[in-house]
């Protein structure tokens, strides 16, 4: 067994998090900073050493855990998981920077919770054992629950309970499905489940159970209402992580479980899935337009963007039926690129709102106006990220949307038509917010008293901006690693299981 990079990327931040909490507030920030950077460094070989020519799981680790039930501590990544892990460790660094001076109340627990959460999320993306996956999947709820519950806004109790119950309820169904699959195949190995033959009814119910977990997580319309509430109440970094990474666990779940374990059921349900994805894009786009709270607006925008992820995933079956495997890959990779891109852009948008919130203590659009006059550098960043959010070519926001639109046109004109409406809706709600918040004459005394971002905030946003641009100008850096795994997935789902 080679050097256990994955284990290290999981356990280093978890143990560091425990240490941060144990040692208390005084060394917390430096410790958290060191831990986050170290974790990022440890995870980098996963990208640079990754063999993108193969779909076989890489960096595998395996140890028996509960041999009686064939539950093992099994880790491994492919091209679908790896970019998400890098995203996670990277966002963790940003989170520490964002919290550096802002969190005064019990910083040790706050930073510790984020550090632990990072490890758990890496665990989600690298687990190859279903039970291990489930444990990580659920465990991430706990630190997030605390972060919103302790450091959140005035309505935090309602928001946390809603968040916790909603997502927890969804994943309980997944647990039942996993246990059922174990009873059928005698293994909790995820790859084993991929190859497990299942008949039509079995697949149908298992698909629904998975759907309950992942649709809530990503979230899809109509089980999305927990997200705006959670975002509004969460502290800035909590929102950033929630949008950047936790939502992606839903998209990842579809790709790792729903599609390969129940390909036939996924294919039968694809019309339904495409329909609610499009509802997310269009309906939520309009809802975002009506928002008065910046965080809510970005939260709704997230849901709309996640609609593209599920759309890109579930048009696959239509295209398989047409024999267009190239289109399938385009849609799936578009969905994955969209997840990564959204990780950077949504985090940046929430951090931008956070920057203003720290100064004015309001998220209401009406409380701002003309921020550019007093914060020109910040305004430049915010306008940039807003344009990225609106899918401007040259930024990462364009890439995934474009790929999914191309793939959906191959499926059906009207699917592409509705999906492409985001070009107008996304620009409308984002730029209208920019107009009301950033542009114009100085809106009130609080805006007049604003000071521009300091170097800490500058670099926090600059790092994200660099990645948004990099992926926009050269998406092959992340899409390149996905091809083999996606091809493998396409092979898998185009073969019936019965």
């Amino acid at each position: 067994m080679s050097f256990p990079i994955l284990s290290l990327t999981i356990w280093l931040p978890i143990l560091a998090g425990c240490l941060i909490i144990a040692l208390g507030d005084r060394p917390a920030r430096k410790l958290a900073g060191a831990a986050s950077v170290l974790t990022l460094l440890v995870s980098l070989p996963l990208y640079f050493g990754f063999d993108s020519a193969t779909a076989v799981m890489q960096y595998r680790e395996s140890a028996a855990w509960l041999p009686g039930f064939d539950i093992n501590y099994e880790l491994g990544i492919d091209g679908i998981a790896m970019p998400l892990i890098i995203l996670t460790t990277l966002i963790n660094v940003i989170v520490v920077i964002s919290a550096w001076e802002v969190i005064k109340d019990r910083p040790a627990i706050y930073l510790g919770a984020f550090s632990i959460m990072t490890g758990l999320m890496v665990g989600v993306f690298s687990a190859m054992d279903a039970i291990l996956f489930y444990i990580f999947f659920e465990a991430t709820l706990i630190p997030m629950f605390l972060i919103i519950g302790i450091w959140g806004g005035p309505q935090r109790v309602y928001a946390t309970v809603k968040f916790f119950l909603y997502t927890f309820l969804g994943s309980v169904f997944m647990l039942i499905a996993l246990i059922y699959l174990y009873r059928q195949g005698g293994t909790f190995s995820i790859l084993g489940m991929h190859d497990l033959p299942l008949d039509k009814d079995q697949q149908f119910w298992i698909f629904l159970a998975f759907l309950a977990a992942f649709a809530v997580k990503i979230p899809m319309w109509p089980v999305h209402t927990w997200l705006p509430d959670a975002h509004v109440e969460a502290p800035t970094a909590g929102s950033a992580v929630l949008a950047a990474i936790m939502l992606k666990m839903g998209g990842y779940g579809f790709l790792r479980f729903s599609l390969p374990v129940t390909p036939d059921a996924s294919g039968q349900m694809d019309s339904f899935m495409i329909a609610i994805s499009l509802v997310a894009v269009v309906y939520i786009g309009f809802v975002a337009l009506a928002q008065r709270d910046m965080k809510k607006l970005i939260a709704y925008s997230s849901i709309s963007h996640m609609g593209f992820v599920t759309l890109g995933i579930f048009i696959a079956f239509r295209l398989i039926a047409k024999g267009d495997e190239s289109g399938v890959a385009l849609g799936l990779e578009g969905a994955m690129v969209q997840m990564i891109s959204h990780g950077f852009i949504s985090a940046a948008m929430f951090l931008c709102v956070g920057v203003m919130y720290d100064r004015v203590h309001s998220r209401e659009i009406a409380d701002y106006g003309g921020v550019i006059n007093t914060m020109p550098i910040f305004a430049a960043f915010m306008v940039f990220f807003a344009l990225a959010n609106a899918g401007l070519p040259g930024t990462s926001g364009f890439v995934g949307e474009f790929m999914v639109i191309l793939a959906s046109f191959k499926t059906n004109f009207w699917i592409a038509f509705l999906a492409a409406s985001t070009l107008i809706l996304g620009a409308a709600y984002t730029l209208w917010m920019i107009k009301r918040v950033i542009m114009g004459p100085v809106g009130n005394d609080k805006v007049a008293a604003l000071t521009d971002i300091d170097s800490r905030e500058f670099w926090m946003l600059a790092i994200l901006a660099i990645f948004v641009l990099l992926i926009g100008v050269w998406p092959d850096v992340i899409a390149g690693v996905m091809h083999a795994s996606v091809e493998n997935l396409v092979q898998h789902i185009s073969t019936s299981k019965y």
Partner: protein, 650 residues
């Protein structure tokens, strides 16, 4: 050559980066030095490319710069295609851009955002160059949206002005409506040809003729028609064709140099360029061409009419731009792509000139833009006066001026065309000549002739603009006067566009007209046998009578025909309609969906409803528990850790 082609867009980009990020550090003077050097370098290289490609006859360059992405079996690439069509755009874009850069030194002299402005216009130049040099649809769309974004930033340049930040958002969103169609068109191209490269799409397109696509009900539509109309919707947004024209007049909120560069000479012609570039596709659908023709004719005539009643100096020129873009679109519709490109080129020079001259007047009068408060500037601003005269004569198509050739050819081409709609379009473009002549000279007389109507203070301080302003005017006046006569033989009737523009034999109106063509001079005498020249003269005469001889006539007509004027003042109601239906409609729809859908049904009835029923049951269970939530939570984590380590290592 690849290096040279790469440097052409890169030079302005680098200049933009330096000025944009380090503007404050390098100071104002260095900001304009760097950006002007960048554009000048790019122009020099373009001239070199002109000699290499056009004079030297080098074969079409078509190479990939780098691979952006590979997905499925589709390659997304960034690359250049350089042929005679590209070279024309390179020269026009770089030349006008350079003039505008120099002019800006004078125009923005007292502005706080000096460096920012230079960064923007250089960034714009980069984007526009990427657009025209592209060899594939991806990069085309990149440039397409990038120029739109810079336009957004520049229209909203005076970000404290409510009207400016409304106009820039409007411009972006209306353009997005066009892009919505454009993106679907590109997606269609990818679906049917499985490639984004122009050459692949052009090669595959003839096989698509006869194929149909089912869109609404059981009706089968020609694939080529659908694709071409979708692509053209993009052009309607960018080149401001009705009904997507509404953003262009408002874009005048931006500083005047960018009105000249972006909203007259270059960006708004991107749509025209795109259709000309796609001529191998558009030639395959007569329905799409007809559609283009009708839209163009409508825009050419009706937008010109609005120009007759505008009182803002820039808005008059803006409506004139709309109308002229309509002429170009009409030319595209009758397959006279070369004529459209020819008018694009001459228009770029004389319209940039007119805008810059308008800007020269505006700064002389301390940002007064109302032509009712001008007059008699002929003596005070001689250079601006004479250059404006040249620009105006070029615009109305005065014989031998550049616009004369380009516009006359378009009118002749429409006359000769047999495509459905050509008949109506002919009358539209012919009447448009009168309208153009009238509003152009109305503007000219009101600004430069007659008695001055300025207040005393302004009149005393009015003076000719500095050299940095007047020299670009003179340099633009030269091609406005000459470029038509010099190039018409090669560009329209010669083989300048051979290989770049494709016209099927039955659509080839220019080829037929070319049989009667015997040189630029003879073309002038020939024109006197056609109505256009006399119609233009009538327009000038009417303006002369109305605004010099008998200035009481307009007021008299106003009193009698007030309802017509109100229709024009309301711009046919497009703005009000969009505002009421699309803008307010969307927001209230969003609010309804949010309040009724999300909050009432989903949250109110389903989520909290089930939560409440659970709550009742849980009331019983709750008595067992007590204590702090986060204690429990951390206990859970700790439990997990212990469990994992226990089974792993023990």
């Amino acid at each position: 050559m690849k290096l040279i082609y790469t440097l052409i867009p890169l030079a302005p980009l680098l200049a933009a980066i330096v000025t944009g990020f380090f503007g404050r550090r390098i100071g104002r003077a260095n900001a304009h030095r760097v950006t002007i050097a960048g554009v000048a370098f790019s122009l020099l290289l373009s001239v070199y490319v002109f000699f290499h490609v056009v004079v030297g006859g080098a074969p079409t360059f078509n190479e990939t710069l780098y691979t952006w992405l590979v997905s499925g079996n589709i390659r997304f690439e960034i690359g250049f295609m350089v042929d005679n069509l590209t070279v024309m755009m390179l020269l026009v874009v770089n030349f006008v851009s350079l003039m505008v850069h120099i002019y800006t030194i004078g125009y923005m002299h007292d502005d706080d955002g000096y460096q920012r402005f230079f960064a923007y216009i250089s960034l714009f130049t980069f984007s526009m160059l990427m657009l025209v040099m592209s060899n594939n649809f991806l990069q085309l769309f990149f440039g397409w949206e990038a120029v739109g974004t810079v336009s957004y930033l520049l229209i909203g340049y005076y970000y404290q002005r409510e009207s400016a930040i409304f106009a820039n958002m409007k411009a972006f969103l209306v353009n997005r409506v066009g892009d919505f169609g454009f993106v679907l068109g590109i997606a269609g191209i990818v679906m049917y040809t499985n490639s984004l490269a122009y050459t692949d799409a052009f090669a595959a397109a003839p096989d698509l003729v006869g194929q149909t696509i089912n869109i609404v009900g059981s009706a089968e539509w020609e694939v080529m028609t659908v694709l071409c109309i979708l692509l053209f919707i993009g052009a309607m947004g960018k080149s401001a064709q009705a009904p997507l024209h509404v953003w262009l007049p408002d874009s005048m909120e931006g500083p005047t140099p960018i009105s000249a560069l972006i909203h007259a000479a270059t960006m708004v012609t991107a749509g025209i360029f795109m259709v000309a570039r796609m001529s191998p596709l558009f030639e395959l659908s007569e329905t799409a061409l007809s559609f283009i023709l009708v839209i163009g004719a409508f825009t050419a005539f009706f937008m010109g009419l609005i120009g007759m009643v505008q009182n803002d100096i820039k808005r008059v020129v803006a409506y004139s731009t709309l109308s002229q873009l309509g002429y170009m679109t009409v030319a595209l519709g009758v397959s006279a792509y070369s004529a459209a490109m020819f008018h694009l080129m001459t228009h770029a020079f004389f319209k940039a000139l007119l805008f810059l001259a308008a800007g020269s007047v505006i700064i002389a009068l301390h940002h007064e833009q109302d032509i009712r408060k001008m007059g008699g500037l002929r003596k005070i601003m001689p250079i601006t006066y004479w250059t404006s005269l040249i620009g105006t004569l070029a615009l109305i198509g005065f014989p031998a001026f550049s616009g004369f050739y380009s516009k006359d050819i378009i009118i002749e081409a429409v006359h000769a065309s047999t495509i459905p709609g050509a008949h109506i379009a002919y009358w539209a473009v012919l009447s448009g000549v009168f309208v153009t002549a009238f509003y152009s000279f109305r503007l000219f007389f009101l600004v430069f002739h007659g008695k001055t109507r300025m207040d005393k203070h302004t009149a005393e301080h009015a003076h000719e603009s500095p050299k940095v302003v007047t020299i670009p005017l003179i340099l633009l006046a030269i091609p406005s006067l000459l470029i038509g006569a010099l190039t018409v033989s090669a560009v329209v009737y010669g083989d300048y566009f051979r290989g770049a523009i494709f016209v099927t034999a039955e659509h080839d109106v220019l080829g037929r007209l070319g049989e009667d063509y015997h040189g630029a001079l003879q073309f002038i005498s020939h024109a006197f046998h056609a109505p256009a020249v006399y119609i233009a003269a009538a327009g000038v005469l009417t303006a002369f009578v109305f605004y010099i001889l008998a200035p009481s006539i307009p007021a008299f007509l106003d009193a009698r025909l007030g309802f017509l004027r109100r229709i024009l003042d309301n711009k046919y109601g497009f703005d009000d309609f969009n505002q009421a239906i699309f803008a307010r409609g969307s927001v209230s729809l969003g609010r309804q969906l949010w309040e009724k859908g999300d909050m009432m049904v989903i949250d109110g009835a389903l989520v909290n409803g089930s939560a409440n029923s659970v709550g009742l049951l849980a009331g019983l269970a709750r008595t067992i528990q007590s204590g702090m939530l986060f204690h429990y939570a951390f206990a859970m984590i700790l439990g997990l850790l212990v469990m994992l380590t226990w089974f792993l290592f023990v």
